[in-house]
């Protein structure tokens, strides 16, 4: 089960994601920004960090790299794609998920543990949670405020994946901090499941994101 972990200049959660994938028995493989063919992979994760220094807008420059063309081909092949933090910003910039993750309402880099509600189980990454289950995972971002010009469509299509529970630390619309495409296979989340993948880290609530990938691939 080969799962790609994409590295851009400035990615910095790549090794954490690699480690979490190892924990669940996947065969992770680092993928560089200029790779044009990812057809040998079963799934791909775009980790967090500050690709290209967050210049222009977070994720804007990574969005036009060759590897993102290859990711679009994987989407056509119906393979699961997960973007975490900067990876989520990149997926939004590419247009693979609706809306944008933009500057936090209060001008602050927000780095803290948060409680989150799992709003849909139809993505491979959230299939092992219960609907409306409250989980603990950390956030770490300055540009995580979710905005879309078509909020109703998102709810109607069951595209809200994660919602902040009992607070809204960055001013996101409806506290939304994870969304997916219409198929549910492309998922973008601001919180870090890899930083909550073992109890020694403070929570193991995030490990099901990775277990879910394995389960989905073995079902296909």
């Amino acid at each position: 089960m080969k799962v790609g972990v994409i590295r851009f200049p400035g990615s910095n959660c790549d090794r954490d994601v690699y480690h979490a994938l190892k924990l669940v028995g996947a065969r992770p493989e680092y993928i560089w920004w200029n790779q044009e063919d990812l057809s040998h992979l079963d799934a791909v994760i775009i980790p967090g960090g500050f690709s290209y220094g967050d210049y222009l807008r977070a994720g804007a420059i990574a969005a036009i790299t060759p590897v993102m063309g290859a990711v679009k081909s994987m989407v056509e092949d119906e393979k699961p794609i997960l973007g975490i933090c900067n990876g989520a910003q990149i997926l939004a910039e590419v247009g693979l998920v609706p809306g944008v993750f933009t500057v936090n309402q209060y001008p602050k880099f927000n780095c803290k543990w948060t409680k989150l509600k799992v709003k849909t189980r139809r993505t491979p990454f959230t299939s092992l949670y219960k609907e409306d289950e409250v989980i603990r995972m950390p956030i770490a971002h300055a540009e995580g405020r979710y905005y879309t010009d078509n909020l109703q469509k998102l709810w109607d299509n069951d595209q809200v994946v994660l919602q902040f529970h009992s607070e809204n630390p960055n001013g996101s619309l409806d506290g939304i901090t994870g969304v997916c495409d219409e198929s549910g296979l492309v998922c973008a989340v601001m919180p870090h499941p890899e930083r909550a993948s073992e109890t020694i880290l403070g929570s193991a609530d995030g490990i099901k994101f990775f277990k879910g990938i394995i389960e989905y691939i073995s079902r296909c």
Binding site: L56, I61, E93, V100
Partner: protein, 83 residues
């Protein structure tokens, strides 16, 4: 021909601008009571092209593909032939 290009990128009307709001609060700390504070990004560059129409087409393309995010931004392009 050589052209000077300026692209102005601003948030769409009604979009929250946390940077501008913070600047306005900071100005108030200094005793300046101002309203409607805004921040605008300006990107300038030069390019070689046959005519101004082609430049406009290309810069529009740049805005759509990279410089702006159409969900939150409006843009304005100024093109001047270099003297």
């Amino acid at each position: 021909m050589r052209f000077n290009i300026e692209v102005k990128i601003r948030l769409k009307k009604g979009m929250l601008n946390p940077e501008a709001a913070t600047i306005q609060r900071a100005l108030a700390l200094l005793g300046y009571e101002v309203e409607d504070t805004n921040t605008i990004d300006i990107i300038t560059f030069k390019m070689e092209e046959d005519n101004i129409r082609k430049v406009k087409e290309e810069v529009e393309d740049m805005c759509r593909r990279l410089l702006c995010n159409p969900v939150i931004h409006d843009y304005e392009i100024k093109i001047k032939p270099e003297d």
